[in-house]
Symmetry: C2
Subunit: 329 residues, 2 copies
DNA sequence: TTGTACGCGTTATCAT
DNA sequence: ATGATAACGCGTACAA
C-alpha cells in the first residue's frame, strides 16, 4: 500500500502523469526529468500496483488454468509448460482444480470471470456444451486442453488419442491377444470416446467381435485401476490390459502381481501417459507417451495469439502420442 | 466489463450504495428494495468485479505460492492441500515456480507484491536471510514451507527430517551397512543440512567414522539421482544409498539395475518422499513418507490464522515423516 | 514537454 | 432506510 505514484510525483516535483510516462515510456520526457523520476522511483522503491493498473486498462496479464487435479502429473507437467511460455511473455498463471466436478468447474469459471483474467486454459469435465458456452460467453478467450466439448468452436490442443489407441490395440492383437480389457476414464470425456472408437475399429479390422464386458470406466486413480483390472482378469478373462492413465496403469500392474500372475506371460499391458517409473518396474511397461509439457506450451501460445488477435479462425492442434515399447507385452 | 453495479442500481431504481448493501449485507435494507435489487442482479447476471473491490478494500482474498517446480509431486500434492483449505475459506491460489533460482524467486516475490496478495506460502531456495527479509518486509505475511531460512522468525511448516533420517540410517547400520551413500539436494537447503546432521550423528552413535566421499549433492531430478548413485557405487564402494527425493530414488534404482547389480543384495536403498510406484518395483522400495498434502493444509491454516491475527506469536509446525518398510533393504 | 482531470468498479462515510 | 460522493492507484485524453 505504502508508496504510490503520487509519492513519486511529489518527490520528483512532477505530476503523476509524467511519472506514468516514464514508467511506461508512453510519452516523450526530457532527459532531465526522466532522471529525477527514475531516482525518485528507486529511492522510494516504488512498485506500481498491478491491481490499479488492471482496473484502469481492463486487463490483468493473468491467465487462468482449470485442471481436474493438481496431483495428476500429466496436468501439472502441462501447467509447467504453460507457466514457461507465460513467464516469457510477462503473464502470470492462476491454477485451480475442478476435481472433475461440473459444479466446481462452474464456480471456478465464475471466479475467474470476476478476477478479470485475460484468458483461460481448461480441461473441461462433463458439461452440456450449451451450458459451457453460456458460462464462457463473451468473457475471455478460452482454449480447451486435452478434452474438448462437442460442437463448441474454439481453440484446443488435444492428443490424437484415436490413432495412438488404435496402434496400441493393433500391436496387442498382432501379438496374439484377442481378449483385450479397456480400463478407461468416465465416458463423457472426449478422450474416452476417442479411445473407444479406436478400440472398436482395431478389433473390427482384425475380425474380432466387440464385447462390452471387456470395457470398464472409473476415475483415473490407482485404486480404480487396480479394482477394474482385477475384475477384468477374474471375470472377463482378459489376456491384455489398456489402462487410460498412468495411475490406472500402476494400479493394474500392482493388482496383477498381487494375484500372483506375471506380466506379460499371463497379462500384457500397454499403459497411457508414460512416466519415469515405468522403466523401473519389472518388467518395464510399454506405454503411450503424452507430451504434456509441449501440449501446455502450445496451449499457452494459442491463447496468447488469440488474445492479440481475437478475430482469427479457431485452431485445433493435435499432438501425436508416441508408443514407447518396453517389456510388458 | 459489461455489467457493473451502476447498471444494477439503475434497473432497480436505487443507488449503487444500496446495491452494495444488499450484496454484502452490510446495512439494513427494506425487504422490498432488497427484492428489487436481487431481481435486477439476477436479470443482468451481475458479478461484482473482484478487481475493483480489491482495490477499494486493499485485499484480494488471494494468496501466492512459490514452489521450486510444478513437476515435483511432493510440492504439487502440497499445493493440492493448500488449495483445499483455501477454497473452503473463499480464497484463491496463485502458483509460481522459482526453479530453485534465487533470481526468479526474487522476481516472483516482487510480482506477488504488486499483485497485492494477502499472504504467501513459499519453499525458499538459497537466500541470504537479510535479503529475503528485505524483500518480504512489511508486505504480507509469509509462511515457509518445507525449507526454512536461518535466523528469520516467521511461521513455518517443515518435516522433522533430522529424526527421520537418523532413524533410516540407523536402520541401515543395524542391518550391517557401514558405507552408506547420501544422495542429497543442494547443501544450502535447511533440509539438506538437517539430513547431514542426522547422518553424522547416526554414524557416530554406531562408532563409524564419517567419510565425506560418501556424500553427493545434486538437484532433485532422476538424472542426478542416477549419476550420483553410480558414482558412489563405483568409486566409493557404498553398500547402501539414501536418496533425498522420490526422483533421485528412482534414478538410483534404475542405475543399480543398469549396472547389473541387485537390490538389496548388492546395494540397499531407503528413499525419501514415498510414492505409489515405490510399491510396484521389484523389490518394492523402503521409503520415508512425507505427508505433503497435510503439510500444505497446515501451511494454509497457519497463513489464514496469521492474516486474521497478525500479532500472534510465530509458530513452527513439525510433521513427522514415517518410514514405510518394504524390501529394498 | 508537461500538467489537469476524469474514469476504471467498488466500498465506506456522511448526510438525509 | 437510502442516496451522494469521495476515495482506492493508476492511465490517458486533452489542454497548456
Amino acid at each position: 500500500m505504502a508508496v504510490t505514484i503520487k509519492d513519486v510525483a511529489k518527490l520528483a516535483g512532477v505530476s503523476t502523469a509524467t511519472v506514468s510516462y516514464v514508467i511506461n515510456s508512453t510519452n516523450h520526457v526530457s532527459e532531465e526529468t526522466r532522471q529525477r523520476v527514475t531516482r525518485a522511483v528507486e529511492k522510494l522503491e516504488y512498485r506500481p500496483s498491478a491491481l490499479a493498473r488492471s482496473l484502469r486498462v481492463q486487463r490483468t496479464r493473468t491467465i487462468g488454468l482449470i485442471i481436474p487435479r493438481l496431483d495428476n502429473q500429466f496436468f501439472t507437467e502441462a501447467a509447467h509448460g504453460i507457466e514457461d511460455v507465460l513467464r516469457n511473455n510477462h503473464y502470470s498463471l492462476v491454477i485451480s482444480e475442478s476435481e472433475d466436478s461440473p459444479l466446481t468447474e462452474k464456480k471456478l469459471i465464475q471466479v475467474f470471470n470476476s478476477l478479470l483474467v485475460d484468458g483461460l486454459v481448461m480441461a473441461p469435465c462433463r458439461h452440456r456444451q450449451s451450458e459451457l458456452r453460456e458460462l464462457l460467453r463473451g468473457n475471455y478467450p478460452t482454449v480447451f486442453f486435452d478434452r474438448r466439448p462437442t460442437r463448441f468452436e474454439s481453440d484446443a490442443v488435444v492428443l490424437d488419442n484415436y490413432s495412438a489407441t488404435r496402434k496400441a490395440i493393433t500391436y496387442l492383437i498382432e501379438r496374439g491377444h484377442s481378449r483385450i480389457g479397456m480400463v478407461l476414464g468416465p465416458n463423457w470425456f472426449s478422450t474416452t470416446r476417442d479411445r473407444m472408437r479406436a478400440y472398436k475399429r482395431a478389433l473390427r479390422d482384425a475380425g474380432i467381435e466387440f464385447d462390452s464386458a471387456l470395457v470398464r470406466n472409473g476415475d483415473y486413480g490407482v485404486e480404480a485401476g487396480s479394482e477394474l483390472s482385477g475384475d477384468l482378469i477374474k471375470r472377463a478373462g482378459v489376456t491384455a490390459l489398456f489402462p487410460a492413465s498412468a495411475n490406472m496403469t500402476l494400479g493394474a500392474f500392482i493388482k496383477i502381481r498381487e494375484m500372483g500372475l506375471s506380466v506379460p506371460r499371463d497379462v500384457a499391458i500397454i499403459g497411457c501417459d508414460d512416466n519415469a517409473w515405468a522403466s523401473a518396474t519389472d518388467p518395464a511397461i510399454t506405454m503411450l507417451y503424452q507430451p504434456a509439457a509441449d501440449m501446455g506450451r502450445k496451449a499457452a501460445e494459442l491463447l496468447l495469439k488469440r488474445i492479440e488477435s481475437p478475430a482469427d479462425g479457431y485452431e485445433t492442434v493435435y499432438l501425436p502420442p508416441e508408443m514407447r515399447i518396453r517389456s510388458s507385452v
